[in-house]
Symmetry: C2
Subunit: 572 residues, 2 copies
């Protein structure tokens, strides 16, 4: 606190009380805080027509203790059975722990927690510690028809773990988080699905010390939620990390896997590639717990060579030029940068302000050279891989950026971005304390559809007055990229917010974007999936669901839209 | 002919008679011939205990005309309906054309044709010319329950197109072979599934002239069968080209696709990546005609830059060192060579003889330096991609090869290999005229399993006396590679041959290899699929089949093992 020259709101700066709603909704480390700098604060007041007075009184903060008042509806004999499987201490039925595993980190979760809304929680939480235990649990629940939900990192933004139908939730992060096998010859690691991102990366970075390996490795998968997400969630949601342009999405990283399903164990073969029918791995990846529980997972790993990393950043005169350069780079066949992040004009403006570039000497140089505010676009990134491979890539992309009129901005802005790459989510709670909502939605598009989708979505978002809408691509391919929209809204009611979000999904479908590039579908976006992929394709997913889970006990209540109504699209 | 100093067998040197069995079994261009050089001829006589006398009389050559004597069992009203859809001239019922679309190029096909065995042919062949026609045909056949088979290039080695249950066969190569759309911005091309490899590549190489493009492109997919295979076959069998280490397998190249199925049209979205549930593309790829007919297919294309290609070849002291180097290269993170071909000692020996290296000065240098015959291993390859990316790759892999004791052999051996890369199949017919069978089987393995699979398979093949067994890896990944076995056998009866082939598949399963890396499964390997992937995984494929094709009209008769018995494994 206290870095402001003028009035400074009392931004959150204390760990939430133990057992409180706030302790569930708060992102990450209870003792870590992040809030807008004075420039950003001033900017928000302007956009949202707010004054310092609006930042003097806080909205509901969720500091209240979660009351232990929601009865468990499971019969005692079932609980007893579960206790036999996982041990007495690993079955919990208190409201707090049940709530904690059901809500994720999307805005509607946070809003409900602030307002002390407890709904859709499982009847019990189990903390299994082995594959066999999970298999026994799934078999028992199949027999008795008890719904099963799963949690690993808990950072879903699609209501992925929400226990709509009650039953049990498996909290895999607690005891099911071990390395099963490290195979240096194949460059693979097999882990339990509750393994957390940082723990996996620690094992790999310290492979000589911890795994008896010759070299050091990296998992290559770093979503923004990295510090509070887990392997299970990465895989079943078909996620991507911020370095996916080089390392690939999780479906490119998974080599083989094992699921406990109601119809038995699905275990895929450990082959680098194959031509033996439909790809079973690609059927299970993206199944979001609706077909079975991911238990063991074998991932490709990569050499850990941060010393080879080449940082760069550029400013482009326009969004059109930035897109053209990104396309040329991705089609250039000299490899792909690892972090590859191109911001549109509005996001560029916010970032330059955030990184304190606005008003500086470099800002003046940019302006003098014709890179105008609200036209110019920032491109950040770095390379990964072998040293000379990285060097060559930096040279080649430099040439392409120059061709499209970009100015080199040194490595600094990317290094600034890197510092905050995993902790931006911390900024959401202090802002929401004063009624300002930050949320994100993302999609994927081909290059030729990108301008249309970007324009269409911005038009929709901006049709709501006083809304900040920042967009970037952060996962880039020769055939297109994702578009990631970050929007800031003040003073919105929950229902109104959900309707706004629904409109974004309607517009994705309208403009022909895939409704998710890496967040998955979950229960939040489920009602749009059939619209997005078409009914004949959707029927395939329905058929698979019926095959694996005829009694609808695996993550029921709308996952992938499987047991809810399709929403009628507003914008067709 | 006549290049031999000693006795020269009368190798095939005349185009097969029109309408003959030979005209169907002969590979490729009727006017092109290839036969063993004298060194190879001498080598074979030695291995097979044969004399010149054994090469004086030919076995059945299949020169007889295919008699037009197999009645069409389809009702005239159905034929009339098909004629209405595709036009009078595009429905054929003569035996020759029906036989031609049913048999492929695996050894048992060639043996049957030489012996004038006509079985499992469709009742009619249709030559559709549009997606709509195919959709109408599938709808009609669904209604009437008429089996449908498909042919594009016709080079299956898995009995993929064999019309076991009669019905109709769609010969897609004839009229369904056009470019639908070329999208230079997205670097994609959409084609009809009967498009042939060379025709696709011609369009892309000449994109400025033929498609109005700015640049030249390549499809990046060059199986050995390239000249006589088609896009449809590549996709539905989940194939790989010889340049797959750089360009990827076909499942990496397909962006989206459209199928006519009994339950309607499946059309996937054109996105570079997505997180919207199980991957529908990866369900349809590898379905081998058992779910529906692939109509339109959108493929990624790549910049055509042959001028950047860096050729190389090395000799390694041992198979162990060659494997270690291949692994280090593929895990080196400086990109992947495009052609990446490592031969085991026996194949190296045959190749050095074939390329006339044996006995030369370079052979003596190799021997003096300790690269011993039947121990040393040949590594051939070239790079593709941007110029300096290629340069760096060649430098980096050179260093790795040196580390493992390899000697550089110049670009020449790879250029020799390149000349013959698509025409090796031509050598099979002249050899078979004298009772010598060349056939190939391939699989995929992880690095740590490779020595075991290689040793185990060689042991099995060599347990048959007088058998040549050459092995190479030709598709290499950070986690493993394929193993491609080429074997030469003399004087074997068809039944004995099939039993021998079955033993190879048994051993793949026994040693834990995927039973196919790029040939697919078809009807020949179908009975092993459930053994290979496990029953729980196999049930998923069964469920998908039941969903798409409840009446079993799509490529019925054992495709993917769907409607035949599993074989009991001999070697468990």
């Amino acid at each position: 606190m206290g870095k402001y020259k003028g009035f400074c709101p009392e931004w959150e700066n204390e760990a939430p009380p133990k057992g409180s709603f706030r302790s569930i909704l708060k992102w990450g480390d209870p003792e870590f805080f992040k809030y807008p700098n004075e420039g950003m604060y001033t900017y928000m007041k302007k956009v949202f027509n707010m004054t310092d007075d609006d930042f003097k009184e806080k909205k509901p903060e969720g500091l209240e203790t979660v009351p232990d008042n929601v009865p468990c509806r499971l019969d005692e004999n079932h609980l007893e059975h579960f206790r036999k499987i996982v041990g007495e201490a690993n079955v919990k039925t208190d409201t707090y722990n049940r709530l904690r595993v059901s809500y994720g980190k999307t805005m509607i979760d946070l809003i409900r927690l602030r307002n002390q809304v407890v709904e859709n929680i499982p009847d019990a939480v189990l903390y299994p510690s082995s594959k066999t235990q999970i298999e026994e649990i799934v078999a028992y629940c199949t027999e008795i028809k008890i719904p099963i939900y799963c949690r690993a990192g808990g950072s879903t933004v699609t209501r992925g773990m929400e226990a709509i139908k009650g039953g049990i939730s498996l909290d895999l992060a607690v005891n099911f988080n071990k390395v099963i096998e490290f195979n240096e010859k194949n460059q693979t690691i097999t882990v339990e699905s509750g393994m957390s991102g940082p723990e996996l990366e620690r094992y790999l970075n310290q492979a000589p010390e911890l795994l008896g390996a010759k070299g050091r490795y990296t998992c290559g998968h770093f979503p923004q939620s990295f510090e509070y997400s887990g392997v299970g969630g990465w895989v079943v949601t078909r996620g991507a990390g911020q370095n996916s342009s080089y390392y690939g999405k999780i479906e490119d990283i998974v080599i083989c896997q094992e699921y406990a399903t109601p119809v038995g164990i699905v275990k895929t073969g450990e082959y680098p590639a194959k031509a033996i029918g439909p790809d079973i791995d690609q059927i299970m990846i993206g199944s979001e717990g609706a077909f079975g529980v991911l238990t063991h997972c074998t991932l490709r790993v990569f050499k850990h060579m941060p010393e080879n990393r080449k940082y760069f950043s550029y400013i482009f005169p326009s969004w059109e030029n930035a897109q053209a350069a990104a396309r040329d780079i991705s089609q250039g066949e000299f490899g792909m940068p690892s972090v590859f992040r191109v911001s549109d004009p509005e996001e560029t403006s916010v970032m330059l302000s955030h990184y304190k570039v606005e008003g500086t000497k470099i800002d003046k140089i940019m302006s003098r050279r014709g890179y105008k505010a609200m036209e110019r676009c920032l491109f950040l990134g770095f390379t990964d891989g072998e040293k000379d491979f990285c060097k060559n890539m930096k040279r080649k992309l430099h040439k392409i950026c120059k061709k499209y009129g970009a100015m080199y901005l040194t490595a600094q802005p990317t290094k600034e971005w890197e510092k905050g790459r995993f902790n931006d989510p911390y900024i959401r709670e202090p802002m929401q304390d004063f009624g300002i909502i930050i949320d994100t939605m993302e999609c994927s598009v081909s290059w030729d559809e990108m301008p249309k989708v970007h324009r269409g979505l911005r038009e929709y978002v901006k049709s709501r007055p006083n809304t900040i809408c920042m967009t970037h691509m952060s996962h880039v391919y020769p055939q297109g990229a994702n578009l990631y929209f970050i929007f800031l809204i003040a003073n919105v009611e929950p229902e109104e917010y959900l309707e706004f979000q629904a409109g974004i999904l309607d517009n994705y479908v309208k403009y022909g974007a895939a409704i998710s590039h890496h967040h998955g579908v979950g229960k939040a976006f489920g009602p749009w999936l059939e619209h997005n992929i078409g009914s004949t394709s959707y029927e395939i997913i329905r058929t698979l669901k019926e095959h694996f889970d005829p009694d609808n006990i695996m993550n029921p209540g709308g996952t992938l839209g499987l047991d809810v109504e399709r929403r009628e699209l507003k914008f067709k």
